[in-house]
Symmetry: D2
Subunit: 433 residues, 4 copies
């Protein structure tokens, strides 16, 4: 493996809002010893190696050659002419006293003019926008920004991670079906090429690993997978798995493990940040809803358990509710049934914080994608499904949504990369039989 643990890794973020700024502030605060990267598996999580009786469980960052936190450099693009300190204050996620301690670091971060198109995110508008003669020209401007960023910061490698708003719902179409058609479309300003695709193209073209934190297509099209294979670039996505969906992919595998039937699952959300505002647009909501609805099917496999899951009525609602700001609340009612079909109910109320849950995901993805790149793993990284609501996977497979299968996959992949035995939890050898 090509190690770059001592070199600067440049993190490039289209969409410098609440999530991106919370991520950046947190890493800087950790580097200053002011905070801990709670929620990051790479920094806090241990991985068991060998037999249970060997008692070997290092922290993952001490096991795999990940980039160090103090070797990260940050930059991005946004539609507002604000620096990261101003963004953080406006986002009202982190305590102002902490932000003031980080002020000069935050103000010095490059925020480039964004590629933006109102047709894809209708509730927002901006004044810090790139102009270009066509979409290919915009992609080249992004590539120029990256080169400028690397020169300025001394970064020798990069990861790009989309933290922008959800774009309106779109099905893949002809222009997405091959690299040549896509590049043609860039030059011709094809209307089905969204800003998030332009960023993804720019990154992958340069061989920079790319992850998509929102549910829109972005790199999840044949054209960009083709490009990723050409440039040996790892890809991951889509849609960070935070609050309610995270909870759903914890609970559903548990209910299924016990073969409890489910007749209905009603999920409602209240949230008051920009995300909530954007999702008040029904077309943006449709993108998100598809992402949120899909998770139960591949976990529950109704085709294998028709008596348990065939009649499941699943409904997801998102409600813009300004009193809460970045705080989010997800309420779930789950109607289950057990032995002889007797009904029971589960209610879950999750008072969470959107950006606080997303920030450590950004960190882990940056570090693991960089590791993948250096380990010569390219294309879709299914082992990172753990972090996504709509995991990308090989077209002949179903995406894996069960958080615990995702976890086993992630940890066994790390063991595999580092040449350790895989864990099966069989454990018969601890016993005399």
């Amino acid at each position: 493996m090509k190690s770059n643990k001592k070199e600067k890794l440049g993190v490039l973020i289209p969409g410098m809002g609440a999530v991106a700024s919370t991520f950046i502030c947190g890493v800087i605060a950790c580097n200053k010893g002011l905070a801990k990267p709670i929620g990051s598996m790479s920094q806090m999580g241990s991985i068991r190696l060998g037999k249970r009786t060997e008692d070997r469980s290092p922290i993952i960052k001490d096991f795999a050659p990940l980039a160090d936190l103090d070797n990260l450099a940050f930059g991005g693009w946004d539609i507002a002419d604000e620096n990261v300190y101003e963004i953080s204050i406006r986002s009202e996620v982190l305590d102002k006293n902490l932000l003031n301690d980080l002020k000069s670091d935050l103000e010095s971060i490059n925020v480039y003019k964004a590629v933006f198109d109102e047709k894809f995110v209708r509730r927002l508008s901006g004044n810090w926008i790139k102009n270009g003669k066509n979409k290919m020209d915009l992609a080249e401007q992004v590539m120029d920004d990256i080169k400028h960023f690397n020169k300025t910061t001394g970064a020798t490698s990069n990861v790009m991670i989309w933290c922008g708003s959800t774009e309106v719902y779109m099905e893949p179409s002809d222009v997405h079906s091959s690299l040549s058609k896509f590049e043609e479309g860039l030059k011709n300003n094809h209307p089905d090429i969204s800003p998030s695709m332009i960023y993804a193209y720019a990154a992958i073209k340069l061989g920079i690993p790319y992850a998509n934190g929102a549910p829109n297509l972005s790199a999840d099209i044949t054209a960009l997978e083709e490009l990723a294979n050409q440039t040996k670039t790892p890809l991951a996505g889509k849609d960070f798995k935070t609050g309610q969906t995270l909870m759903k992919t914890i609970l559903a595998p548990g209910l299924k493990a016990r073969q409890l039937g489910i007749s209905g699952w009603f999920s409602t959300n209240i949230l008051g940040n920009r995300d909530g505002e954007v999702l008040d647009d029904p077309d943006a909501f449709k993108t998100k809803e598809e992402s949120k609805l899909s998770v139960l099917d591949t976990i529950l496999e109704p085709e294998r358990n028709p008596d348990l899951y065939n009649d499941l009525y699943h409904k997801v609602r998102i409600n813009y509710y300004p009193p809460r700001g970045d705080d989010k609340e997800g309420w779930d009612n789950i109607d289950i049934f057990g032995w002889l079909e007797y009904p029971m109910q589960i209610k879950v109320d999750f008072l969470c914080r959107d950006s606080i849950l997303a920030a450590p995901i950004v960190l882990d993805l940056v570090l693991f994608l960089d590791l993948a790149k250096r380990s010569d793993m390219s294309g879709i990284q299914e082992w990172l499904s753990f972090y996504f609501k709509s995991p990308m996977c090989s077209p002949d497979l179903e995406p894996e949504h069960d958080l615990f299968v995702q976890l086993a996959k992630l940890k066994n992949t790390l063991r595999h990369i580092m040449g350790e035995d895989l864990i099966t939890h069989l454990g018969l050898d601890y016993y005399k039989s």
Copy 2:
């Protein structure tokens, strides 16, 4: 493997209350085509074999040579002189119309006089109690009952499963430390030998697999493990993992997977059945509380994640609340923290039914313990940890409480028994790298 799929398997149950009768009624109803054994992994659950693309996922009962439901025969012991129909009516778990359809089957089941000692279950008293000159004599009477049962029903093999009330808290003492001391104690009426130990002794002595659905020690003592090794008998226990603790071992692994910290976990329960009444006795509650409190530690491993779990304040309360009868409600408040230690909260309200959740566990344990016996697996069956709040395990190991590790262990054990490849979820071979 010695197959007995076509022979009668006799299920022996000390403690014929709500759980036992709900289990028995359910199996009979399924055999009559009136109901489905929802919640039973052996009957409803599928197991993936081979690679995902092979699409091989049989139902477990079609994969492993388990006893058929219509080859089960039932019998047990109780302190009240009631038949199983009367018990079922009094328990108020199942619909009376269904019970009336099963009436003659239920009335014909043998309920033998119980071994009982008020010192161990203070809130109950009974009139259907064995007398004996000492505890060894009582054990022998139990063995005679078993022989009588097998003769009556034609059963050629057996499994015994304790479904009685929780006995008062006790630490293992000298009389439990070896088989010879224990047998001496049986003859001398040693006060530390409880009724549940007498049943366990009787079963294990006859080579009958034994499981303990309550949290008291019962077979979880050195003396009886020694006997199990002599008689090649599989053991499993303790304390069926149903409502709130089931939920806890689903959620805690999920929170830990995401490296979310936990500062407090408050669990309260309201329940109105006989179980609630028994647990109103503080000494019985202590046994249960120990069982319920232990689950978080080995899941969260605070020693490996001190920043996340060292200060966790865990409190469990059980409240006798008659308005609900057998319906139970568990309310949990979980105080968690994420990125930079920002706090969040999760509330879970589980409106469950005690016996409905326990009955399919009884069924699976009966079938899997019988399979273990025929597969020559003896002693503690750690792969059945999945079903217990306080899983028994080898003394040099920590018990495994994570439901998903337990599930992997159970399924990989079945794969191993049947000679199939173990599953690691690595899955790299689906991808070009």
Copy 3:
């Protein structure tokens, strides 16, 4: 007062669905001694008379000369050709064993063909519909039905109560502004005259007290108030106050009493009966939403408490969720603030039953409207606001939504009718000052 306690009171119900049938079954069951009219203030509630130390608190039915339950006769109109037994079975509200005990009584109740127009309730269609040459003709057919009903049953007086579905949203228009325009409109088939208005016209024309259990206008128009004054007819409405809104008008007065501020109130509902289906039509939902949203304003009086309630964000959602049938669940999150504006939260989860909560309201309204008629009270009966989400009131007043003010109004009105002292709760005379 003209007493008719010993004569038959005929209850006429347009819309014989779950609510109507649950009401009718309940009254018949009570008359047979099989059940109790829980939830009915007139039958179960006591009323304090005089000073506390007098200890006079009769049950209301023993205080005011209300009709006896066994002097009620029932009839109605529906769009389906079903008898009340069939309706009750289909509605799945009451236990089948009970319904079978009432079967012959239920089957003998007249269900006349309905006045129906799909434009007003788009999700339903029926096959038991009146034809007429114009809307006046339909009104006359309804009056003929009433006469037929009274002849058949021997009823000497009547009350009509709308229990039909919510009609689409409509503002009062010119045709509703005077009786002469309205009668002209009936003859000309004016499109703004809905079926519920036709029933109301028929009843009021005959001097029959009329109540509206749904949120649509029906009798809440100037034309029909004019007619009510001519015919000396009491009116009441609109929209039975059951589940979530009932809870809201209990909680909001409590929070206001304590001068706690409210920044947000989010209410969501899941329900699976025909009501849920009808409200899936956005235009029907709008009628309901207006009704549900209005209640907070007049309770909280933001104009008098701008610091506390000016910024209140109030959102109400109704979700059709079939797994629950007639069972309904309302979840509320209330964001409040106290001393120095520190925030707090209240969550309420109400697992209720729609028809079970509505049925006793129907009973009380029937008896109190009949009492009003016999007491020569005509026009809008504001003292019955207690039962409605959108209480009708004099045009120069705000409707009163506070459940406890409504209760004081209702009870002091009864005291007034019966010549008792009004209660102020001053109570200084119990003390030496």
Copy 4:
């Protein structure tokens, strides 16, 4: 009425903990224009006068001649040698930035040595304690403190309000039965005279109105009522009605208004402040539990509604749970039943803040008791029941717990004091009949 609106009113507080300091800080902050006294009826609440159409609803402080907030002076007693700034910081209720703005004001407040006896509050101990040759001597020292306080601050009148911890459970005994026996007991150090009684004696002896914010007896004994009559002193108590019990006295009247039956009410609390610690002592909990359990009976009157409330199972649990500090959470499950006894459930989760809810109650009681004194109202002030969990009342009456009856009583008393018409909500005159 003797007006002292322009003179200084001295507020004397035994027990300067979280509640007292939050109250004091808030009043000072309001006087500086930094905050608003949310939750205080006297400052924020309006009172309707005359007919609805008159539109007269002044804020209460503009209607009744209450002391102005900037004429209040503060002092108290505590067992720790801390000033009010230090207490506020330790209590962790209010924001540190705010406290720093108030620092010099807070530091200058007199905190006198406390009368303290560990037997009555076992979980606490202190180092700032009065010594005296007997309890009468201690009472005289308290009176001396008051005189010193008035000289220092220029206060010309006073109110005393107990904000100390809950003392252990005690029934009134012979020494409490008359003033002469009580004064004898003070001199003889009778063990049944608790510190809170000594403070109450000192205040009432000086004619200073006294309120008790905790559930222990304090002034609720015949001896001190006798003294209050002698010295023309108003009394109020016991136990500030904040979180869960407040909610209970809002909901129960609502359910009763609708004649909904209640089969069970389970209330559990988690709290992590000093209050929680003190209530971990079972004898202190008993005092609190009695106070919390009593509220339902007089609201629901099971003797008048046996079908609805006779079988109500009411259970209250308080759990010390440190992770929350002063934040408190009350979870209620209410099992209700309606029409034909069909069951329904209500769950309420109240995430509240103890001191934030109590502080405005302290303020209102101070101002209303001072008004009572100047209005020559002495003895128990039943009209202030609104603020208490266990309202004191005349021995021949039941206490009134219904929040809305309490509210009517309070407001009609204010109207009565100021010579306005009482409000009955009859309102018939708005209508033509």
